[in-house]
């Protein structure tokens, strides 16, 4: 058990320790699964792998089931333990972050669905470079968000919020590129639109990773930085 685990692991009640540890573990397990879903969906798209895309869609049911299980666990802890302070912030944050993970799962499913359609139609000629770039970027953000949760690292979480602005810029750039392709040859429109939806889904993955990062800052610092300016978030993380 690392130092980070210890801050939730030193209650008088060992059972309470175990319950919080299990909640964290299950959340990270679900996070890992969702991370893989996003990576697989992108791979299915860029490789035209309909089989992999189909697997991603199947696996989403498991992600949904985990969401329910973790919510139930969190509810049970609130009912039985009446957590306070950092324990309360952990439980509340997990309930909210689990919803973000589930939505990321949905975006992966959406991407997989578009990948299957594109695979059936034959490869779209344009936009895959952008998909790969943004996909890599938001995949890393999600990975780092889960990492910052595991380590309770608010500075790493702050960096993810910064990254989100960059993803938004990349998304705008990619959308402009696809628009150019569509204007060049209207026969591209259908496929380019599918790729555009994929980019949109990936951009949303970045937003959800950013939400998770905001909750990590709340867990660690006790201050809510949702809807706050970057300067405000920096003040919270930099503060004592």
């Amino acid at each position: 058990m690392s130092d980070q685990d210890d801050i939730y692991g030193d209650h008088i009640s060992h059972q309470f320790n175990d319950e919080l540890a299990r909640l964290k573990e299950d959340f990270l397990h679900m996070g890992g699964m969702v991370e893989q879903q996003v990576a697989d969906a992108i791979q299915a798209l860029t490789n035209g792998d309909g089989e992999l895309a189909s697997q991603v869609r199947q696996k989403d049911k498991k992600v949904d089931r985990l969401e329910l299980e973790i919510d139930e666990e969190a509810t049970r802890i609130i009912a039985r333990r009446q957590p306070t302070a950092r324990d309360l912030r952990l439980v509340i944050s997990v309930i909210k972050m689990v919803a973000d993970l589930e939505r990321i799962g949905d975006e992966a499913k959406k991407t997989a669905k578009l990948a299957m359609r594109l695979a059936e139609e034959g490869q779209a000629p344009r936009g895959y470079v952008e998909v790969r770039n943004i996909g890599r970027h938001v995949g890393q953000m999600l990975h780092d968000a889960l990492d910052s949760f595991a380590r309770l690292d608010s500075e790493q979480a702050l960096e993810i919020i910064r990254e989100d602005a960059r993803v938004d810029e990349e998304y705008q750039g990619a959308a402009r590129t696809l628009l150019t392709f569509m204007m060049e040859d209207p026969r591209n429109i259908s496929r380019c639109m599918s790729v555009m939806w994929v980019l949109r889904a990936l951009e949303r993955v970045g937003d959800h990773a950013c939400n998770i990062a905001e909750h990590v800052i709340f867990m660690v610092k006790g201050e809510d930085v949702r809807h706050a300016s970057m300067e405000e978030a920096e003040r919270v993380v930099g503060g004592p």
């Binding site: 209650h11 009640s13 957590p83 302070a85 006790g222 201050e223």
Partner: protein
């Protein structure tokens, strides 16, 4: 450290408690949060309470505001009950107990030699851990205080006070037909609400409660807690409780005591979601106590 002047609290005292680092007097650092209030009833500055040579309370500074409910929490032996009892000089009767520092109620020194303690306790009522009704009827229990303080000239006035107090403690409907019945025949929860009625019968300004629900079942506890929130419209309430959930439910501010020191006092929401001091955090999350 005597920074008090004749008119009230010197600003330097207020600042001093907030900015100093950990010292011999304050091993846990200055009291965190918001110990001071704009509309203070009690102004308590550098209060220490000794039993013989042992200090049970060490240089505590705190305001209690008008019509607020403030809870004192902390592990056993932290001094929270001792501190509560200094507010109406209930410690006077304990041999070897000595109180230092400045304690004022509405600007008047609580511990001055000229202070009438009976009058003080009429203004600052108290409810104890175990319900302690007199072995008398319901009516006589509530009428006792008004009688000895001469608050009623006629029987009808006394009747009014008894009814108003019993209504105030939510007991009227349950006992109005049995006012002559002995109080000791009622349930624990009813007895405790009777004690609250007895406390408010003399129209106090402040009600001190020392673990008022620790001998009650959850239903009776809920009734007393409901009563506390109703009473807070008219009274200032200071409550010592072992139940952190109770402090979280009933109080506007919560004060955390540790080994005689006031470690942290702040809005209850703040204390239970993001306490500032590590000791407060450890206690309320069940890491020691």
């Amino acid at each position: 450290m005597n920074t008090m002047n004749a008119t009230g609290i010197n600003a330097a005292t207020t600042e001093g408690g907030q900015t100093a680092d950990a010292t011999e007097d304050r091993p846990y650092g200055p009291t965190r949060g918001q110990p001071f209030a704009d509309e203070a009833r009690f102004k308590l500055r550098d209060v220490s309470v000794y039993y013989g040579e042992t200090a049970a309370i060490k240089k505590v500074s705190l305001d209690v505001a008008r019509n607020e409910v403030i809870s004192f929490i902390g592990p056993s032996g932290c001094g929270k009950s001792t501190f509560l009892r200094t507010l109406n000089r209930m410690n006077d009767s304990i041999d070897g107990c000595r109180v230092e520092g400045q304690l004022t109620l509405d600007g008047e020194d609580i511990y001055s030699d000229s202070r009438d303690v009976v009058e003080l306790r009429a203004r600052v009522g108290m409810v104890f851990q175990k319900p302690n009704p007199f072995p008398k009827s319901i009516y006589d229990n509530v009428a006792y205080g008004p009688r000895i303080h001469g608050l009623a000239n006629r029987k009808s006035e006394l009747d009014d006070i008894v009814e108003r107090s019993l209504r105030g403690s939510g007991l009227w409907e349950e006992v109005k037909d049995r006012l002559d019945a002995p109080a000791t025949g009622f349930s624990g929860g009813q007895q405790q609400r009777l004690c609250i009625a007895r406390a408010i019968a003399v129209s106090p300004e402040v009600v001190l409660m020392d673990e008022p629900c620790s001998a009650l079942d959850p239903i009776a506890t809920a009734k007393v807690e409901e009563l506390i929130s109703e009473l807070s419209e008219s009274y200032t309430i200071v409550i010592v409780t072992h139940s952190m959930q109770q402090a979280a439910r009933v109080s506007d501010r919560t004060a955390y005591f540790h080994l005689g020191h006031l470690v942290e006092v702040d809005e209850t929401n703040q204390v239970f979601t993001s306490p500032q001091h590590e000791l407060t955090e450890s206690y309320i999350t069940g890491r020691f106590g």
